[in-house]
């Protein structure tokens, strides 16, 4: 038996129930060394749950697992890690108050008698980061890093001790292409060393490029496993969603007649020292205006200033009138909505019900007499959004924190759609969302635009920006370096402006 045919990890008939919710019904998986095994499934299909069972976060309700031919049933993540499994979780799990080095080395700090050797810790972390080729500063506090950088730290943490099986749960969902390339390089090296890699992603091109084997799951059930050579993106999507999908970006819709052509939002000379400089642009009703740039180019900072969450110099006009937002409440009142980038921090109250989260930014709309909540109207509105976005849940009272990652993302979107904004800022709106749902979200964005909503879209996924935006402003080093539209809107040109090769 050759090395590549050996199974390092297998699971059979695995079931997992969360109370009445059957997250996994009948899972099976065989992972071989030196191969990348992708798990593909819609949002809420059970991918993350499966991984958490593998690393001992949740015990399976039923089923058998084997590691290197031995029975395997980890009681906790420490045991899983001792047996040779490592994981990079989908939801970031870093301590914001600690440094990058401290996070990376957490749980195995170099220490003697319980005293941590800080110098050694820093040095080991720096070495690891350098070996991996990651562009992060190990002395920085995690709380100050961008999401992409935090994701890279999370990856470094997962790789900080050797593993037989490495699990990567949507590691690229918040990375731009260049950072993703670094990760792919790391994966190739690990593969060559014989590490088995379990990979989860919703980016189909990436899956086809990296995978050796692909297991499709649907509604918690095993569907099939294919070798990469024997399948196509179209077939995989059909297996995953249960129907064929012919296009990824819905076509632009005719704008409704009578849309005003006067800009709804005018920004000029917006500046905040150290973050962005002289940002100027107009936004018209019905327009989809993309903002593209590499990580750290200042896009998210500009958006949060537009939303009143950051003070900045310069002028913002809404409907031609100069405004000064002191807080988000002012911005919301002026008709601005902001689908934030980090769902766990700015987006959701994880310990609150789905319904409560969806209505959180629209509380004034559900205020009845004397400050009483109008619960009936709130439920109806939340239900409508849940159905419109096909959020997978069995009750509006489900806690947001128990939804799958992609479904949490949809809740953030639902929350802002409910405020019926005239200007909708989208910061990475489809992060972690499956292909079917992505199409649905794109369709909704198009629909809103045709009805006159002005849309500002920040995304690190270039195809997404090119596929939807009418105009794209490219940011580099805190400035808008170019704004392109029409036939100029090609991947090459946009990347060239973003990286500074074109000026």
């Amino acid at each position: 038996m050759s090395e590549a045919d050996r199974t390092v990890l297998s699971m059979r008939d695995v079931k997992k129930n969360f109370g009445p919710v059957a997250a996994l019904k009948n899972m099976r998986l065989e992972v071989r060394p030196g191969r990348v095994h992708t798990i593909l499934g819609e949002n809420g299909a059970g991918k993350s749950t499966l991984m958490k069972i593998l690393v001992g976060v949740h015990p399976p309700t039923e089923g058998r697992m084997e590691l290197d031919g031995q029975p395997y049933l980890p009681q906790n993540p420490t045991e899983a890690s001792q047996r040779g499994l490592a994981i990079v979780f989908q939801e970031l799990s870093l301590c914001n108050n600690l440094s990058v080095a401290e996070n990376i080395m957490a749980t195995h700090e170099p220490a003697r008698y319980g005293f941590i050797n800080d110098r050694k810790l820093r040095q080991q972390a720096a070495e690891l980061v350098a070996n991996l080729g990651l562009p992060v500063n190990v002395d920085a506090k995690v709380g100050q890093l961008s999401i992409a950088q935090r994701q890279l730290v999370e990856i470094a943490k997962g790789l900080s001790h050797p593993a037989k099986v490495l699990i990567l749960d949507e590691p690229t969902s918040s990375l731009s292409d260049s950072e993703a390339e670094i990760l792919f390089g790391i994966i190739a090296r690990l593969k060559a060393r014989g590490t088995a890699i379990i990979y989860i992603s919703h980016r189909m091109e990436e899956i086809m490029r990296l995978s050796d084997d692909i297991t499709v799951i649907r509604d918690g059930e095993y569907v099939t496993t294919r070798a990469r050579e024997d399948t196509t993106i179209e077939e995989l999507i059909a297996l995953m969603v249960g129907r064929r999908m012919d296009e990824i970006y819905p076509p632009a819709l005719e704008p409704l007649p009578g849309l005003s052509t006067a800009p709804v939002l005018q920004v000029s000379g917006l500046t905040r020292a150290g973050e962005f400089d002289d940002v100027t642009f107009d936004l018209c009703p019905g327009e989809i205006h993309g903002f593209f740039g590499l990580v750290g180019s200042g896009r998210s900072e500009v958006m949060s200033a537009l939303f009143g969450m950051r003070e900045a110099q310069g002028e913002i006009r809404v409907d031609g009138r100069a405004v000064r937002f002191r807080n988000a409440a002012d911005a919301i009142k002026a008709g601005i909505g902001f689908v934030t980038e980090n769902r766990k921090e700015e987006g959701l109250v994880l310990g609150a019900a789905l319904r409560t989260n969806i209505s959180a930014a629209a509380i004034p709309a559900f205020t009845g007499r004397a400050g009483f909540m109008n619960f009936g109207a709130e439920r109806r509105a939340a239900l409508a959004e849940v159905q419109r976005l096909a959020i997978r849940t069995n009750s509006l009272d489900t806690l947001a924190g128990t939804l799958s990652g992609g479904n949490q993302q949809k809740v953030v979107l639902a929350k802002w759609l409910l405020t019926r904004p005239r200007v909708l800022i989208l910061d990475e709106p489809t992060r972690g969302v499956d292909v079917g749902a992505k199409f649905e979200i794109y369709r909704i964005i198009r629909q809103l635009a045709s009805e006159g909503t002005a849309i500002l879209m920040v995304s690190s996924e270039l195809p997404e920006v090119l596929g939807l935006a009418d105009r794209v402003s490219i940011m580099a080093g805190g400035r808008i370096t170019a704004t392109v539209a029409g036939t100029d809107l090609t991947p090459e040109r946009v990347m060239a402006y973003a990286t500074g090769t074109l000026k």
Binding site: F18, G19, F307, M309, N327, A328, A329, A331, I332, K333, F338, T340, E345, E346, G347, L348, V349, L350, G351, A352, T356, A360, A361, I363, P364, F366, T367, A370, G371, F372, M373, R379, R380, L383, V386, T393, N394, S395, L396, D397, K415
Partner: protein
């Protein structure tokens, strides 16, 4: 709009189960304590004694309603014991102007002291723990200023009737607890103010981005806590016929214990007034039952501490298992 059946809202049976899940453990603890004390002392389970318990628990319960708001926000208010004492003193001295002015002045004093806590916490961005440890000392010191540490006696019949009178067969003090319970419960569970409190306590950042004015909310809630403490101070001074400089000492701990026993999470965002009321009753039953059994004070402290630990541990464990 047509009324379509709503497939994803909780059914009634589901709600009842959720209620049992939420309060089952803590109610069981309350019943258990009652059974034990009844077995040990025949006079425990009498109408007279149960009314007595309710009267004794009133001051802590009302303070705990205010504390619940503060804890829901993820903050803490350690100054309420001192506010109780200041309120009593303000009331006793202001009774010279008449009953109603004294009442209003006392409540205003509570609101002011609470607002100071809130402003320091929200605007100076100091941790509420530090702020209220400091004001706990300051307010406690202020009590002694007017009388140089001596108690101020109260003779006003209306003021004394609050603690001693009855209305429709029930002690007035119990009516006050009930009214304030209903008020706080409705404010928390039915209004946008309550909703904003839950959201902010659950995730302050997300609340800010949702357009909630977190600073204002914080000040309002500390003010509310101060007012509740002032009411508690009025009741206490009425029952003691005087304002004492050491009145309400360490009541903040009983109030915190009541809220936490009732399932309020110190991390914020989780808790209810119903839970807090049950928590306060547990503390009242323990105090009363052990007094009846003449358990020495220091043993009472030990037992109370242990019961709180066990109850909270059981509750946490049960919730984890069901999750």
């Amino acid at each position: 709009m047509t009324q379509t059946p709503d497939p994803i809202t909780a059914s009634q049976g589901h709600r009842l189960r959720a209620l049992m899940l939420q309060y089952g453990g803590i109610l069981l603890a309350l019943v258990l304590l009652c059974v034990i004390f009844t077995a040990l002392n025949g006079r425990f389970m009498t109408v007279a004694n149960l009314t007595n318990i309710l009267q004794q628990v009133a001051v802590v319960a009302i303070a705990a309603f205010g504390m619940t708001w503060v804890i829901l926000l993820g903050e803490i208010d350690l100054s309420i014991g001192s506010i109780i004492a200041v309120a009593g003193m303000v009331g006793a001295l202001a009774l010279g102007f008449g009953f109603v002015p004294a009442l209003l002045l006392t409540l205003a004093a509570g609101a002011l002291m609470g607002a100071i806590n809130g402003v320091l916490t929200a605007k100076l961005m100091l941790p509420s723990f530090i702020v209220t440890v400091a004001t706990m000392g300051i307010y406690r010191g202020l009590v002694s200023l007017p009388t140089n540490g001596a108690p101020a006696m109260i003779a006003d019949p209306a003021w004394l009737a609050i603690g001693a009178g009855t209305f429709l067969g029930l002690p007035i003090i119990i009516w006050i607890v009930l009214v304030l319970f209903v008020f706080n419960h409705i404010l928390l569970s039915r209004t946008t103010f309550g909703r904003r409190t839950y959201l902010t306590g659950g995730n302050r950042e997300a609340a800010l981005y949702s357009g909630i004015k977190v600073d204002r909310l914080k000040i309002a809630i500390f003010t509310l806590s101060g007012v509740m403490a002032a009411v508690a101070g009025i009741l206490l001074s009425s029952r003691l016929y005087s304002a004492q400089t050491n009145a309400g000492m360490s009541y903040e701990l009983d109030a915190i214990a009541a809220a936490v026993l009732g399932g309020t999470s110190l991390a914020g965002g989780v808790g209810t007034m119903v839970g807090t009321l049950i928590g306060a009753l547990i503390i009242g039953v323990m105090n009363n039952g052990m007094n009846m059994l003449s358990v020495p004070y220091f043993y009472q402290l030990i037992v109370k501490g242990l019961v709180i630990l066990i109850a909270v541990w059981l509750d946490v464990r049960a919730k984890q298992r069901r999750a």
